[in-house]
């Protein structure tokens, strides 16, 4: 069934027509939710909720517009809402932490070189406050441009650049601390 046909059927009240749409996008939505929440269990819940919200708001969707960005906008908002509710950003308080962060010296090691492996980088990303984590995931994982991120999050384009820059500063600090901690314990 064509995607537009399925959407029109859903808008007409056919719930079962939503099944193929879920099947088509579930892997991508799950991946986004996994990166945003950092947990498989939470990712599955948030992804389900994103699809439920999408179905509920199909009346407001214009079938002439691409469906994927619309769906991802809903999923991103669900992830942000989840992170705010769960309070997982308390690990690092963004503004307070940034006060202690200075620009790295020229010739400083690359951000990822501070980590032992990719898993450590992902944990550091999971410790970022929700606004920073959102732009990091959308930019580096979803590989969206600033304009697309601005559309998905409702933030001005200039703010996206600033948030991304600050997020990288925070990540550098987090990874440096982890390195110090792991160095001290080894």
């Amino acid at each position: 069934m064509d995607e537009r046909d399925a959407i029109r059927l859903c808008q007409g009240g056919d719930r079962d027509a939503f099944g193929p749409l879920v099947q088509r996008y579930q892997a991508q939505i799950l991946a986004l939710c996994l990166r945003m929440t950092g947990s498989r269990e939470d990712a599955a819940d948030v992804a389900q909720q994103a699809f439920v919200q999408a179905y509920k708001h199909l009346d407001g969707y214009d079938p002439e517009q691409p469906f994927r960005p619309w769906l991802f906008r809903i999923a991103t908002n669900e992830c942000i809402g989840f992170l705010r509710r769960s309070g997982r950003h308390k690990a690092v308080s963004g503004d307070a932490a940034l006060e202690q962060v200075s620009d790295p010296e020229a010739g400083a090691p690359a951000l990822v070189e501070l980590a032992e492996d990719h898993e450590q980088v992902r944990r550091a990303v999971s410790a970022l406050p929700p606004p920073y984590r959102t732009v990091v995931v959308l930019y580096y994982f979803q590989e969206l441009g600033y304009q697309d991120i601005a559309e998905q999050t409702g933030l001005p384009v200039g703010t996206i650049g600033t948030q991304l820059f600050r997020a990288k500063q925070l990540l550098r600090r987090l990874l440096t601390e982890q390195e110090v901690i792991s160095g001290a314990t080894s």
Binding site: F51, S86, V121, V137, Y140, L164
Partner: protein, 170 residues
């Protein structure tokens, strides 16, 4: 020489600058080894983060093994379609018309019995039935309760259309 801020370099790297700013920055970078080194560092950070955030094999396997169709369909309520909405709206005059027909029919029957064989019935229960039938024919309870009926229909429609989803993860 005035060096470029890292934040500005990040914008340049992301292609988020307008053309004049981008050209000015490119010119500066061509002349300034320190800023071009910084740009290279930022680019290395970006490449590293992109690689680190890719799904691992285990994560990819998990994502691809999930099927959300059944749980999602269980959690969504059927949408109220336009024909169903029209049906709901037409229900009220339908009820009223049914009331009218029943009232008229009962009234006719009561009138027949009044002037028919059941004289005693006609003297006692007949007029009561006749009055009741006339009352029904004039709209009965609907004349007094229609605001409640409309409110009930609106609330019923709202409930069907916006049934609150359970939020398991809140």
């Amino acid at each position: 020489m005035q060096h470029l801020e890292r934040e500005a370099l990040q914008l340049y790297l992301a292609g988020a600058l307008d053309l004049p700013a981008c050209e000015a920055m490119a010119q500066h970078l061509a002349e300034c080894p320190r800023c071009s080194d910084r740009l290279a560092e930022l680019a290395a950070d970006d490449a590293g983060l992109t690689a680190a955030l890719c799904l691992s094999d285990a994560e990819r396997a998990w994502v691809e093994s999930q099927d959300l169709t059944a749980p999602v369909l269980r959690r969504i309520t059927p949408r109220l379609s336009v024909p169903l909405l029209i049906g709901c709206v037409m229900l009220l005059p339908g009820i009223w018309a049914f009331n009218l027909i029943v009232g008229l029919g009962a009234g006719w029957l009561a009138g027949q019995s009044t002037f028919g064989l059941l004289i005693n019935f006609g003297r006692t229960l007949g007029p009561v039935l006749l009055r009741f039938a006339l009352w029904l024919a004039q709209g009965g309870l609907l004349t007094r309760l229609w605001p409640l009926l409309i409110l009930g229909a609106v609330l019923g429609f709202w409930y069907l259309n916006h049934q609150k989803e359970t939020n398991d993860y809140a």
